[in-house]
Each structure stands twice: as structure tokens, then as C-alpha cells.
Symmetry: D3
């Protein structure tokens, strides 16, 4: 169902975001249970959603960091802080976005995210 171009766009976008990430990439777990599903998910989310060119990758990634700060999902947050650095966000920008979340989602949400960011920055300096 997926043509060659979509597969290539998916591969390139995944490489851009998750290059050098040591932890499990998001689709590895799905793959273990249902290989076809994992491929479809990857083509849809990475190849069709993430590869849309309406906003620059750093903006897209800062927004994702903000969202995961609110949602209390530290593993995914860690992965996407790494991805944010990969697409060119600075540490200061990432922290500023997390701080901004304190106003809208409360200080505990921001505090947990600052801990996660500190852990990622410590591993990637």
C-alpha cells in the first residue's frame, strides 16, 4: 500500500529525529508484536504526519516536548528531548518551553520535565 517515496521519506525523517538515540525507538515495541502494524504506524506517523512541511522541525519538536511535559509520560519525553536536540533546538529553548508549561499545566509537570531534560543533557554533552 505504501509506495517507494513514502518509505524513503519515512526513513529520512526517522534518521533526522532519532539519530544516535540509544533507547528503544518508538516503533521497536510495536514491531515485536505485529510487524505489519508497526510498519503502517511508522509510515503514517513518521512519513505522513512528521514529514509535513508546514512548520520547521525545531518548532514541531518544541511543541512535542511541551505536550509530553503536560502528559506525564517521561520515557517518551526523554526520547523527544533527544530528538529536539537532533533537529537543532538548543538546551535553553527546551528548558524555556518546559518552564512555559508551568503556567498552564502546573509546576509539578514542569519540574518532572526539567529532571528528564537534565538527564538527557547529562548523557549527550
Amino acid at each position: 500500500m505504501a509506495d517507494k517515496d513514502l518509505i524513503e521519506k519515512t526513513r529520512k525523517t526517522a534518521e533526522l529525529y532519532f539519530k544516535g538515540v540509544q533507547d528503544e525507538r518508538p516503533f521497536d515495541l510495536w514491531k515485536a508484536f505485529d510487524k505489519d502494524l508497526a510498519k503502517e504506524l511508522s509510515l503514517f506517523i513518521t512519513g505522513q504526519m512528521y514529514a509535513r512541511e508546514k512548520i520547521p522541525h525545531p518548532t514541531r519538536q518544541l511543541v512535542t516536548v511541551a505536550c509530553l511535559t503536560v502528559l506525564a509520560r517521561p520515557d517518551e519525553l526523554k526520547l523527544h528531548i533527544q530528538a529536539a536536540l537532533n533537529v537543532g533546538c538548543t538546551r535553553d529553548e527546551i528548558l524555556e518551553i518546559i518552564l512555559q508549561m508551568a503556567v498552564y499545566a502546573g509546576f509539578p509537570a514542569a519540574l518532572e520535565a526539567v529532571k528528564t531534560a537534565a538527564a538527557v543533557f547529562g548523557e549527550t554533552q
Copy 2:
């Protein structure tokens, strides 16, 4: 406790974000109950948090739209979609950010936010 510069910076930032907004501005309600508190909140959030110059206003506002999409707070979302337009975000950028949230917070969250955005765009064309 607040010096003249902070008051001026707060006024200017509030003007930038909420110019032309017909609905109640966020601090009006607090003001009705505790005038001193409302002033302190305004000086802190608008004058100290929002006025930080670490990221551009449009990025800050897209991130806020994303966060409010996740949190199921339509009134605040409406206000900040208006503010996003005020600081120079385009409609396409706002919708793209909302769509991005579908991946992380589910499609119902995004769908509700698209409805809110459609309402704001209808009023401000």
C-alpha cells in the same frame, strides 16, 4: 514591590498578546475577587514569564496552543489562538500544531481544538 520597568513591560506584553480580544482577559476574573493578587499574578506571568526573550513570541504561543489542546480547556484555548494570531502565527501553523497533538494526546483532543480554531477564525477573518 514592582518597579516601573516591570509594570511597563507587563503592559506592553499584554497589549501585544491580547489586543482586540473581546472576551474577558485572563486577569479580569481574578481582579473581581482580589485586586492585589490579580496585579501580582499579572506582573509575574505576563511581565516576568511571558516577557522572557529566550524564544520568539510566535513559538511561545504555538506551544501554548498545543498545551491547551491537550488540557481540555476550550475557553483558554480560544483566548490563546487569538493571541497566536496577534503575535504573527498563521492559521496554517496553528492548525498544524493542533494536528500534531493528535499523535500525542489523541484525536478527540485535536478535534475539539480544531472546532475552537474554526470559531476563532470565523470571528477574526
Copy 3:
């Protein structure tokens, strides 16, 4: 299954909390669908949980207002702000608790709750 004492304790506690409340009381809706269930729920929550004497009713009710501020459930919040006034909480205490939530759950949560409180206070002055 429920003895006379529990039924009486349930009735008295419900009267204390919801006296004069015009909106639907929480168990009315359950009653329409499953009368036995509604009775069991009422005996358990009102008669066994709410009637516990470990903390004073006003403290219990301020805590409930705080929780519903966080959870984005305005109808239940309205009901429990009415109940808070019924058990002797003051308006200032209720607003103070809502404000406290801004720090932990974000300003939009608190802002929505202030609106709900203003509506209740307007109806009950």
C-alpha cells in the same frame, strides 16, 4: 444489606451537603437507570465515605473543590462549591483553594473554577 443506622446516616449527610441545591443531585441520574445500584452507591459514598469522622466536613469539602478544579468537571464542581458553602466554608476559603490549584495544575484550571465559583456565588448571595 444495609441496616437502619447506615440509611439514617446517609440521609443526614446528604441533607447536610446538598440542602437547597436546585440542580440534579449526583445520584438522581443513576436512579433513572438502575434504582438498586443508585441506592448502593448512595449508601457507600455518602453513608460510608463522606460520613467518616476523621476530618471536619469543611476540610473534606475544600479538598473536593480542589480535586474537581484539577479534573475539569464543571458540573460536579458547581455542586460541590454549593456543598462547601452548606457545610460552612467561606467564599474566601473556596477561592483561596482554587488559587492554590493554579500552582499545581496550571492557571487555566484555576481560571475555569473561578468562573464556576462566581456563578454559584451569584446564585446564592
Copy 4:
């Protein structure tokens, strides 16, 4: 990118779930803003996710009702209670699932969902 079979499977699944639904169907709003995106979303969610044959449609729909009860998204909940009836769930099953949510997500979440269910049942008797 989508072959004929997927388009046909999507159409049939959508017909099964949303037959006779008067409110906006989920993808109508996306369509107004980005027609291609709406088509991709529809093919992916309806044609690939919903049409998976691992669990019966009524189970899938009861689970969706449960999830939307927790998430405080009444418009989507209304739509999926209608869809649940369309795929053969009974009113009693839907209410039982909502009640079950009270234990895990609290009584206010269940209470709001009972109100929504009552509204749908009133319209579709």
C-alpha cells in the same frame, strides 16, 4: 497511495459505525482545512485501525466509550455512544461500562458520561 480495497474497506467501516449520525462526523472538520490530510486520516484510522479484525466491533466500541468517559471529551463520547448502538451494543452494556469507569477514573467522569448517554438514548429511542 491508497489502493481500491482500502478505500472500500474504509467506506464500509464508516457506514457501519456512523450510519444515521446527524452530528458532524469526525473527519468533516479536518476536511474543511486540509482535504488530503482528511482523506489520509480517514484511510488510516477507519480503514486500517478500526477495520482490524482482532476483536469484535461491539467490544471495540465499548472500549472507546470507556476511554472517552475518562478523557472528558463529551462531543466525541456522544458520537461513539451512537456508534456503539450502531454496531449492536445494548444500552445496558454501555451504562455498565460507564459505571465501571467510576471505580477507575472517579464518579464525576462516570456521571458526565451517564448524562451524555441519556441524551443519546433520548434522541435515538
Copy 5:
């Protein structure tokens, strides 16, 4: 307050759901703090809510897995994936339900739940 039948029904239902579960059962913790309360909770939730015969146990348990996937409560989720297997749900059904949650509550929620399911399946093969 509880008659013999309710106690017996509670015991049987608990046995059905949590047979062989090594981790703490849900009421053990309450028991350590307030023995009477723990007994009341157990009789109410297990004996009255869970033992209702309106929907089959596997459906009830799939719905609970869905709800806990959304709520970000991994310990309770683990317990109820074990219970789902105990009442006869298959691994494929459990994973399918978790995947379904990605659409409504976002992929991070589903991803965390898949990790938890993988851990339970590893321990119980």
C-alpha cells in the same frame, strides 16, 4: 452490615481475577492502614461492582485495561493485565485494545501500556 452471600461473592470474584498474582493485591495496602475500611471497599468494589453480571468478565477486564492505559497508572495496569489473562482474555485482544487507545489518548499512552503488557507476558508465559 455485609451478609454472608456478599462476603462469599466477594471472595469468589477476587479469586477469579487475582489468582496467582504475586504483586500486592489492591486492598492489601488499605488494610495496613484501616482494616474496616479495606473490608468495606473490598465488599463494595469486588462484591458489588465487579460481580454485577451485566457484561462478561473478559469485556469488563478489557475495558479496565483500556482505562488504565489512558490514566498513566502502570502498577494498576500491570495488575489488571494479569487479571485480564486470568478471566480468559488473550494476549492479542489485550494488545489490540491498547493499540485502540493510541487513537483516542495518543501514542505515548499506548506505548507505555505495551511495555507493561510485554513485562506481564514475559512473567506469565
Copy 6:
């Protein structure tokens, strides 16, 4: 921007709440990234919000425990259970508040909080 009185009030309030707390205090992490910001946050939240004298400290702290029980933020919850003990709340009051949350936010939320409380009580006996 902050006068001497505010600094002193902030210091005293922080001492009252967090005396003897071994874990990181909330502002330590912010301090590592932005010293000025951390000071502003501390003066605003501790010195202006927490030091408000509208409700007694134990009530304020029970409400905070309730809120963090709902929000699934165990590290912050731990810190504030310690603070609750510091300002004079009893263990029974803290547990009663957590139990109350089961009704409004579900039993898993309460169960996680009971575990956290048990851990704090074990360390501080």
C-alpha cells in the same frame, strides 16, 4: 525587585514547609539552569502564594496532597506529604484525604498515593 520583607517571608515559609526534607527541594533544579528565574519563582510561589494567610497551613497542605494525588506526580507528592507532616497534619488526616480522592479521581490514583504516603511515613517515623 524584591524587597527585604518578601525575601524574609519566603525564607521563613520555605523553612516551615521543607525543614528536614532530604530530597531535592523544588527550586534546586531550576537554580541549576537559571539562577535568577529560580529566585523569582521562589519569591512568587513561596513568598506570595504560600505565605497568604487566608487559610491555615495544614488545610493548604492537605489540599496540595489531594491535588498531587490526582495529577500522578509521585515525586512532588512525596515532598508535599513531608511538608504536610511538617506543618502539623497527622498521618490519619493525610490518608483520609487520599481516600477521599478515590471517589473523585478513581481508586488507582488513591492507591498510588497510599504507597507514596507509606514510604514517607516509613522514613519519618
